[in-house]
Symmetry: C3
Subunit: 155 residues, 3 copies
């Protein structure tokens, strides 16, 4: 990779993670028209969940935010594959969906999801500014604390 | 505003609310092709949550339905901005997503979300008839009882 | 129906269920461009919920998986209507969203949702391979254990 975004990733000290294979019967992304729809990603690092548990429970806000950031990195790795390794083809981060596993009294979902959203803007600049929905959930696959999905427009 | 939909809003006695700024690092909407993707909206009125708590808990069904309606009004205000103030450009309400903060034994999610869905049809007529998914969640940002997101097709 | 997919359904012993009417103020699907967006479907059989309750509670994993499969069959019935009865027009299953009503300690969401995903691939082959997000929820409309929504690309 030697494009504009690849250079930006390097400046940010970010190495794209290895592609996380789907945990079940689906694929990591589908391209339809000029949209890339990416499956919900968990905070895996080299094939293992790096955090588990719930916000408001055993997972601290700082860890939750780090987990959301890692989810976005896994989204990004699949996006890179969808673009044949050229992230400069990304015209816009259209939408991120954030799912925060939490206790019923938890209220800081937005802060946690910023771990993903702020990274999107750091990497893509204005094109990284996206629509977003963030919700609490009682549990996620494999007891993950966060799951992030994404829709991107590519050229 | 003096178009067809603006006239309809006036007839319904609806004033578009002030634009609610995002509560975190994202934008209220993104336009991709002829789709407007609008971020999840909470039932804010002039910058404050007008309801908080959960259905099946301290929030009555009537209040939950009113909250869903208010969420849709906030969606509508952003849609109006996306259309440069001309809601007549809305060709179709494509999809609404409804998130209902509730207790595990709550079952009337559909009725609550009708507060948003019925308003969409009142305002846009047949073009307001939309696909929809409604789910329960244990909690939402800032203890909001309802969150509504939307996708719209514009000309 | 006598197309390729209709023949495949017959070989699988699948009869499309009767169209389940929406449970509230919305429509089963909207077509925008070449995308069909289908409302969240519950595991109804001939107008009645065939399963109720939660995973991790009174609903076994086998029943949850069967419920997810039934949800997809209801998605499929609406997709068939959207295609005027010709499922050969389906170019790609783009995305399935899976909502699993469960207890906070449940972790096997992915397995349950495979009831829908594996059927998509059985029916559509490679075109059935889709992006997917699966999350837990505390409750669903009418105490359903699973809800599945879908986006499809058609010709």
């Amino acid at each position: 990779m030697d494009g504009r975004i690849a250079t930006r990733l390097q400046a940010l000290g970010i190495t794209l993670p290895a592609l996380q294979p789907p945990v079940a019967s689906y694929v990591p992304y589908v391209i339809t028209g000029n949209l890339v729809v990416i499956s919900g990603q968990l905070p895996m690092i080299t094939g293992k969940l790096a955090w588990s548990g719930k916000l408001g429970g055993t997972v601290s806000p700082a860890d939750g935010t780090a987990a959301a950031r890692q989810c976005f990195l896994n989204v990004l790795a699949h996006l890179n594959a969808a673009c044949d390794g050229d992230l400069d083809r990304v015209a816009r981060v259209v939408r991120l969906g954030g799912f925060i596993a939490c206790t019923p009294d938890f209220t800081q979902h937005a802060t946690i999801m910023n771990g993903a959203s702020e990274l999107a803007v750091e990497i893509f600049g204005d094109a990284g500014r996206h629509a977003r929905s963030t919700i609490g959930v009682p549990s996620l696959p494999f007891d993950a604390p966060v799951e992030v999905e994404g829709i991107f427009e590519i050229d």
